[in-house]
């Protein structure tokens, strides 16, 4: 790592750190969003009306309010309930809560695609509803929603530029710092933009590969 320090000019190194921070924040936010999103989705398709209403309200709120505002609220709210955490955590929580709303809808699409007969067969073999969800429905919903979920990762990555506002040293914040010292805003901001572009491109490629791998077992139904 220290070799890297010698080879790279300081600005490049700082941008690299920023890019890594961006990636980490995005991944954590995405993961949190998936966990919360799965729960919200299950509530959304639940048989109990209250759960459905709560889930629908959650989705409506977190999709209807700008992410920036959500991040600001989380950032100022956490200290109020005694959680004095570094901005990184507020960022991940904010991203996660917001992403969950979108992931819940993506997953719902995944659930809706599953033919009804499969859950029925599980019922006939005396699976409990929890077993049916865990072993039959969720694996397939995740597979079906995989393209949308991967797309969500790319969206989170772009949205993560907002965490610079709540003090996270991500790519955007680091490029701002460089411009403050070095001036030359066009050059540095365009470089930052390009880095985002490259990361997104790589993610899109990974996504396509993942999609292909997941569909291996399915193939085309033979006669």
């Amino acid at each position: 790592m220290s070799n890297l320090l010698h080879i790279l000019p300081p600005t490049a190194f700082v941008l690299l750190l920023g890019a890594i921070t961006t990636l980490v924040v995005s991944l954590c936010g995405n993961a949190l969003g998936l966990i919360i999103g799965t729960t919200v989705c299950l509530m959304r398709i639940s048989l109990h009306r209250t759960a459905r209403v709560v889930a629908a309200t959650y989705i409506s709120f977190f999709r209807g309010v700008p992410l920036l505002v959500q991040l600001l609220i989380v950032y100022y709210f956490l200290p109020m309930i005694g959680l004095d955490l570094p901005p990184f955590f507020a960022a991940v929580i904010g991203l996660g809560l917001c992403s969950a709303a979108y992931q819940a809808e993506n997953l719902r699409g995944g659930f809706l695609i599953i033919p009804k007969g499969q859950a029925e067969a599980a019922r006939a073999f005396a699976y409990t509803p929890a077993q049916t969800r865990r072993y039959i429905l969720i694996p397939q919903a995740l597979r079906a929603a995989a393209p949308a979920l991967i797309n969500e990762m790319i969206l989170i990555l772009k949205a993560s530029s907002l965490v610079s506002v709540v003090g996270v040293a991500d790519l955007t914040r680091e490029s701002q710092n460089i411009v403050a010292r070095d001036l030359n805003p066009i050059k540095w901001y365009l470089i930052a933009a390009l880095i985002y572009l490259v990361i997104n491109f790589i993610l899109a490629r990974l996504g396509a590969t993942l999609e292909r791998r997941l569909n291996v077992g399915y193939g085309a139904a033979t006669l």
């Binding site: 700008p66 609220i73 993560s160 411009v179």
Partner: protein, 219 residues
Amino acid sequence: MTFSLSLLGQYAPQLLKGFELTVIVWLAGSLFAVVLGFALGCALLSKHSGLTFPVRCYVEFFRGTPLLVQLFVAYYGGPSIGITLSAFTVGVVGLGLYGAAYFAEIFRAGFASVPAGQIDAARSFGIPVWSRIRRIILPQMLVLSVPPGITLLIILLKDTAILSIVTVPELTFQVTGMTIETFAFVEPFAVLAALYWALTELVSFLGRRTEYRLGRYLK
């Protein structure tokens, strides 16, 4: 939690101005985005790679990079090459260029979704090119573009909040200023959230009505 409504009343004129600006920037930026996006979408239909390649680059850049960074390039970078624009202009233009890339894709997909059979039928009846475009292709393409278009408009509405970071004095900017002065943070932001929520729900609702009316025309 000390939240007094009087505080709200005190700042009401600023908040109102901010709200007004949010709507104006949103509408202006969206108009820009739709018009430019339409032109770009049409360009993408061309068979000349000399035309499609640069447009494709444009679309990939503006869709693949964060809006915030794009705004930084325009707002902070502009002066360094001699173009000093007001925050408002940067906001509208920034939102417009960003939105245009997405609308370009929506319109391109809309064109592609018009059933080829209809175009063939029109040609076989000898209907001239411009009429074909005006009466058959365009109406259907527009109807297909409405649902994703409305979704995009709502996204642009929410993204106006980001403009506050480059000092466009819209609603979020005003509320942030208010919290800095009053040291009350969560409550004003919560009200801000509620306002956006109401606004986006309203636009969604109008959007669904429009889709419904258009859907009836299709049937």
